[in-house]
Amino acid sequence: MSDTAIPTAMPKPIAGPVIWLRANLFANPLNAIMTVLVVWFLVMSLPALLDWLLLDAVFQADSVRECRAAGSGACWAFIGEKHRLILFGLYPYEEQWRPLLVVLLLIAMAGVSCLRRFWTKWLAPMWIATLVVVGILMWGGVLGLSYVENARWGGLPLTMILAFVAIAVAFPLGVLLALGRRSNLPAIRAICTIYIELVRGVPAVSLLFMASVMLPLLLPEGMNIDKLLRAQIALIVYASAYLAEVVRGGLQSLSKGQYEAADALGLTYWQKQRLIILPQALRITIPPLVNTLITVFKDTSLVVIIGLYDLMNAAKASFVDPAWRGSSIEAYVFVSLIYFAFCFFMSKYSQSIEKRLAQSQNR
């Protein structure tokens, strides 16, 4: 910038709606044409969408047929009927307060982790404790809770557990892989590089297939891993390779001076990484880390392919009931909203951190 400390913005001599309209919608003929086209598109689509979503929608019905007879819009009665199945899968009906608690607990912990004042050494132990509580709540078998085998887990809690555990385990793994890829020991560098590139080079679906088809072959007879754990392993493997690359990006952005200064202090390799390098690198990588979390959260939906009842698959299961056949769109819209709510919040959070980091770097 030049000496004027004023940002170069749109010229606005006087404020007011008319001037705002002229500057933002009708600045020149091309602009005006685009505005007209967009308005036309909105006029054509929005009322129809609104009709379907609300005005012509049916909120009370006992089957899809009743719904379709009552109105041409969405059949929200279906969601009213099946939301428990979609949200909690096949978890025993009267015990569903437990997964609900798990969801609330995980959301609360995620919220707490977003606040800077909780970024202390207690965060990691708190998360471990949370995951233990989550395990107790979901499995039960202690404290008077009835035992629920994990084949019956499903819906939103399953999706969240898959995503959070994947990130929690993959994160330290990813840090080690990133350090390994930048190590000056050729064998370690080669192993880490091959692992990262191999995993990133193939679709996540093929990793899930591999976990579900090949794992039983790879392990000795009698050592059986259930479907949930197999999917979880695949997701961890997948997430760790992507996290490794994110962390490596952070490591690369540090100046050489930081490494030299740490060496000059006489720190060992691990002290140097733990005290000097990683704290800085990880701070820079928070926004891309959150983006990876979003990706992993979305990609848990791929477990539908190997038949786990996560949020996605529970939604698909909800309209198998003959009475509710043909309400797939409603189910998809419902779970889309849930996924969107989570991912949108996370992406906004990552953007705000990014902005703050950019500001602190400019200073």
Binding site: L25, V38, S206, F209, V213, K298, D299, I329, F340, F344
Partner: protein, 403 residues
């Protein structure tokens, strides 16, 4: 870990010769070699353990390893194929059909997603508030919903909510949209169309030659040549002229309803359409962000300097902004192209016969799980590595020279 001795060794000062004081394991080189041997031994041990388990398991289940099964008769039909295929063909050919289907979706998807993504990315930077807002809503919605959910959504919409072939939507002559997919006419095989194709190819060659000539002439005399308009004439006008000269035939091979389905014309199956639609809409959201940040990465000062020199807005965009934005855009764009290719494997969820779904059928039928997975991975790794190699070459080619 022996952290303490190393620390004191370092702080105590380097001049002291290592041999006299330090034990050999304090030598970083020795330690490095030790760590490496340890790592290799651990990995090797793990691999050996897994491999021996596998061999044992395979033996106890009487599964023969190897790729001999590829020559056997596949025995299953594939709904869509670019090459002739029947259930009597070998597994190898079935897998080849799968690979070609993957590539077909990927290539068409990449082209469409690039076009739509670029438009939306530029729209996000528009000074028109409404256009910018709409584009950013698109990006937010599309990127925050899992792709597989979007695929199911489109597939449901096509197969459940579109009418059957008898009451197919009929937006224009010869085009039918039904729950059996999209049917559209193809020009019938005639001399005029062949001529147009040949002229199109010639026009392309002529356009390239003309570009060279115009550049040379501009260097020599300074005069500009309206290449864009002349090229448009060569590439579009020439084929149309040829077609008109050959009598302008309008014979189409149009789809016709016969019984319960259409015959003739070309078609896109519901599975292919849903997969393509989902991939393109999803990836365009990511490409839009890449294009937007690429353009924003070119500082305002660059545009100002160019305008101050008297260059027009178009010249500024073409000569200053685009070449610099491309450097920022190309690397992440390549990884999006890679993502489209990898994400096309979600075809298996809606039943489009891509390589993953064909390999999956194969491994279910033959029990050759390891080989099946290996084939899937080999195919994708080949594609990934080729794209990565190209990207590295390109990056080196366009990297900014700095000191």
């Amino acid at each position: 870990m022996a952290a303490h001795p190393a620390q004191t060794g370092a702080t105590a000062g380097r001049p002291i010769p290592k041999a006299s004081r330090a034990v050999f394991w304090n030598d970083p080189r020795v330690r490095g070699i030790f760590y490496q041997i340890l790592a290799v031994a651990l990995i090797g041990g793990a691999v050996w353990w897994l491999a021996s388990n596998t061999i044992e398991n395979l033996n106890s289940r009487n599964i023969a390893t190897g790729f001999h099964f590829l020559g056997r008769e596949a025995g299953f039909d594939i709904g869509e194929n670019l090459i002739d295929y029947s259930p009597a063909d070998s597994y190898f050919k079935a897998l080849l059909v799968g690979v070609l289907n993957t590539l077909r979706v990927a290539v068409i998807g990449i082209i469409l997603a690039t076009i739509i993504g670029t438009i939306i990315g530029i729209a996000r930077l528009s000074k028109n508030w409404l256009v910018a807002k709409l584009a950013s809503i698109y990006v937010e919605v599309v990127r925050n919903i899992p792709l597989i959910l979007q695929l199911f959504f489109w597939y449901s919409l096509i197969t459940e909510f579109l009418p059957g072939p008898r009451d197919a939507l009929h937006p224009m002559a010869g085009v039918f949209l039904s729950n059996r997919g999209l049917k559209f006419p193809l020009p019938a095989h005639e001399f005029a169309y062949d001529l147009a194709m040949v002229l199109f190819a010639l026009g392309l060659i002529a356009a390239v030659a003309l570009g060279h000539w115009a550049k040379k002439r501009q260097d020599a005399t300074g005069r500009h040549f309206p290449t864009a308009w002349v090229n448009l004439g060569l590439i579009v006008g020439l084929p149309i002229a040829g077609w008109l000269l050959a009598g302008a035939p309008l014979t189409f091979n149009a789809p016709v309803l016969q019984g319960f389905n259409f015959v003739g014309g070309a078609s896109l199956s519901p599975e292919f359409s849903a997969l393509l639609l989902g991939l393109v809409i999803y990836t365009a959201g990511f490409i839009a962000e890449i294009v937007r940040s690429g353009i924003q990465a070119v500082g305002k000062g660059q545009t100002e300097a160019s305008l101050a020199l008297g260059l027009s807005k178009g010249q500024t965009l073409r000569l200053i902004v685009m070449p610099q934005a491309l450097r920022v855009i190309v690397p992440p764009m390549t990884s999006q192209y890679l993502n489209i290719t990898k994400n096309s494997s979600l075809a298996v969820a809606i039943g489009f016969p891509d390589i993953v779904s064909v390999a999956n059928t194969t491994l279910n039928q033959t029990g050759q799980a390891i080989e099946g997975i290996a084939i899937i991975m080999a195919v994708f790794l080949t594609i990934s590595l080729s794209i990565a190699t190209f990207m590295n070459w390109y990056n080196k080619h366009i990297a900014l020279v700095e000191r």
